[in-house]
Symmetry: C2
Subunit: 206 residues, 2 copies
């Protein structure tokens, strides 16, 4: 679907590249397909961006940021523990609803080359250790106050993240198995914000 545009340029190419890379991954993406998606000649890709890898890195960095920053941001706020949980859920489901292939793409490419996580994580100044420590402290504090039952912070964090992200990663499976069209799925995810919150709160109240 080439666009009949007047300005075939960097942005046009990047948008096309995002689509193809996030759908197919680095190995499955074809420069030809990106060019076709952008409606231009393949050589232009090399004119604006040196090569496939350079293009990929630019796109991966923005997607990496989209995927991770919100999560880290929440833990720097001074909302209550339960409000933080609500924020995470809301944020994750909102973002992933808008960017259907984001989670799968980032996870796959990190699995393919785990050092990307370190490399791009440092570049964006992410500090997982600190984040996890804060999370653990907050849990301990809430446990002592009797607000939540004792629970391993790593397990709880994994539970929250899993509940939010997995449905999007496995979206093609879930849609088919539960016989949902796109709208039904999106609707279910919107309801999931409330549902997941209640599920998790219930799970951790003593």
């Amino acid at each position: 679907m080439p666009k009949a545009e007047s300005k075939p340029s960097e942005e046009l190419i990047l948008n096309a590249a995002v689509k193809v890379f996030t759908r197919k991954g680095y190995a499955g993406a074809r420069m030809e397909e990106i060019a076709k998606e952008a409606g231009i000649n393949r050589a232009l890709l090399h004119y604006y961006f040196r090569d496939k890898e350079t293009m990929f890195n630019i796109i991966f960095e923005t997607k990496f940021k989209e995927f991770f920053t919100g999560l880290f941001g929440v833990f720097q706020s001074n909302a209550s523990f339960t409000e933080k949980i609500r924020s995470i859920i809301d944020h994750e489901i909102t973002v992933l609803s808008k960017h259907p292939d984001l989670a799968r793409f980032v996870i796959m490419e990190i699995a393919q080359q785990p050092d990307r996580l370190v490399q791009f994580g440092q570049k964006l100044g992410l500090n997982p250790r600190l984040m996890l420590e804060n999370f653990q402290k907050e849990i301990l504090q809430n446990v002592e106050e009797g607000k939540i039952r004792p629970i391993d912070g790593r397990q709880l964090l994994m539970n929250i993240i899993s509940i939010c992200i997995y449905p999007f990663v496995a979206k093609p499976i879930i849609k088919t198995m539960m016989q949902m069209d796109e709208n039904t799925f999106m609707d279910l995810m919107e309801k999931r914000k409330k549902e997941a919150y209640e599920f998790i709160i219930n799970a951790i109240t003593p």
Copy 2:
């Protein structure tokens, strides 16, 4: 790492192919790498299996089965609802602990070509509609008996599956962010069987 074996044959090749395909996916896998992994000449791959796609389909089918059958089996038993939940959790975490790349591989390849789910699902006689219906009925029944709080069956099923599977899909991310080595991770997953069960039961008790 070619093996100094006496019987370079189908099985040797298949084992190598499983490793490469599940790690790299169809698009990222190289016939050369499979041959090297098996310690044989690349032409042999074509002698025993016609081509890359044929090889892939054989492997995908076995992995597809590994991934899905257990899940469907549980719902045909006549254990109590909570026991079924325990079974699912136990089974999923046990299987995925043994086959590190299984979930990521199957999910990715279905995302790449969703009709594979229909195609191989039929071939194995899986019936997701029936499974989901049974699950929903059982929930309704348990809700009426006051054993669990009202909850959308699709959401609950997604929650259970998410909690079990996501940690393995995102394993490279989780290991790095939480600074765990392989053993620590596996240990955490073993503990997770109990932890996840309690989490979910807590979440659904009224």
